[in-house]
Amino acid sequence: MKLRLNNLKKSYGSRAVLDVERCEIPSGAITGLIGPNGAGKTTLMNIIAGLDAPESGEVLYGLKDGSFSPDLPKKAVTMLFQTPYMLHTTVEKNIAYPLQLRRAEREVIKRRVKNLMDDFDLTPLAKNKAWRLSGGETQKVALARAVALKPELLLLDEPTSNIDNTSVAVIEKTLDYERNKHKMTSVIISHNLAQIRRLCDYVIFMHEGRIIEQGDAKEILSKPADPRTKAFIAGELLL
């Protein structure tokens, strides 16, 4: 799903926290959204996910027929948070919930949940209480729950910031696989530049609410044009 952002603005009080003139996010690719704390990454992602409304401007969602719609295609977009909320039930039922919401058939749900749990190494935890899981397990369940919907666009806000390497690998593998197999579009916010390098096709660098630079991931990460991007990538402090 291609995305077009037009003149998105958002402020808190008198402080503008988001001011994006134009931006296009490519379809069927993994886009990394990077930038220092407070740059407005989460704000932007929440607006794309329909959780927050901009003061002006619009997000246009690319549909399958090539046209663009200003309305969020609810069933095709989902988001993963840093600390996902687990329903007060078992792991299995957490993953099944979105499918039930779509009124999928019982047998279909059963099969799909089983496959997802196998893919994410969650089978031994199937009957566990989901809200008692560790951070990494929680994130895997949340990802399985999100992927269960076969979304066209998956938004991820720092999904791997407090989980161990094996779980990180599972999550990255999933994004990679879904992109190759189902042309899923994902946008991921991460402070881990090595991860962005491994995973992303496209990179957007934000600073103080604005998009400073965007383009092919390899290019931006190896030869950033703007001094602020350069400094950020070099790990320097931004002044």
């Binding site: 989902t78 329903l87 919930y97 919401l101 809200w131």
Partner: protein
């Protein structure tokens, strides 16, 4: 010391023999407190959810008031209801004082803020997360309300049971508006007070034991749900 021991033995005898006076009193207690809690739940849960999921002007003040009312002394509330229902009072025409209806009114006012406040607390803690999850999974308005109810149901049971525990064990309100009239408005707590003043300890202990058993049941349920509902 013997009178305590004798009292307990006799009390158990009274309970086992199904003493009609005792069971009449227990029955009225359950009826009055049960009805009050039912009404409180019907009012308090929807309002608690509403307050917990919405922002509006005066919310903080309202919450202050609800929290204060949660720990209002029953005597004061009883007095207030009594004055309103008094012959010369605004609702005097209905002549409700010294009837179970007046007791139900008083206890409803006593426990509605408890149900509302506890519902608010749990909903507030989860509203944002559950709302966000429902939305990102493509739920509709209706499915999201059901999701919210499902996620807070343990907390709602806790609210209900706490309210019942409070109602069944309070003396002040039912004493003032009900007046502990034999066969009409006599409930467990007021009856115990009456029996004590008459020196009928075994009967008092018998009623006390039943009240304790009810408390035990209430607290067991509470504990179960608290365990289950823990984050």
């Amino acid at each position: 010391m013997d009178y305590i021991f004798d009292g307990i033995v006799q009390a158990i005898g009274l309970i086992l023999s199904g003493d009609p006076v005792i069971f009449e009193v227990v029955g009225l207690s359950l009826r009055v407190s049960g009805t009050s809690v039912l009404i409180a739940v019907l009012i308090g849960i929807p309002l608690g959810i509403l307050i917990g999921t919405r922002e509006f002007i005066g919310k903080r003040v309202l919450l202050r008031i609800i929290y204060t009312c949660m720990s209002l002394p029953p005597v004061i509330l009883g007095l207030f209801v009594f004055l309103i229902l008094m012959r010369q009072g605004p609702l005097g025409a209905y002549q409700l004082n010294y009837t179970p209806t007046a007791m139900i009114i008083a206890q409803t006012l006593l426990v509605t803020p408890i149900v509302m406040g506890l519902t608010y607390n749990i909903v507030r803690d989860r509203a944002k997360d559950v709302g966000r999850l429902g939305k990102t999974l493509g739920g509709t308005g209706v499915s999201n309300v059901f999701l919210m109810l499902r996620e807070v149901k343990g907390g709602l049971v806790i609210a209900l049971v706490s309210a019942f525990g409070r109602a069944i064990s309070e003396v002040g309100a039912v004493m003032i508006v009900g007046g502990n009239i034999t066969g009409k408005t006599r409930v467990m707590t007021t009856y115990i007070a009456e029996l004590r003043s008459m020196g009928d300890y075994s009967q008092a202990i018998a009623v006390g034991i039943i009240l304790l058993l009810l408390s035990l049941i209430v607290n067991t349920i509470l504990y179960q749900f608290q365990q289950r509902d823990e984050k």
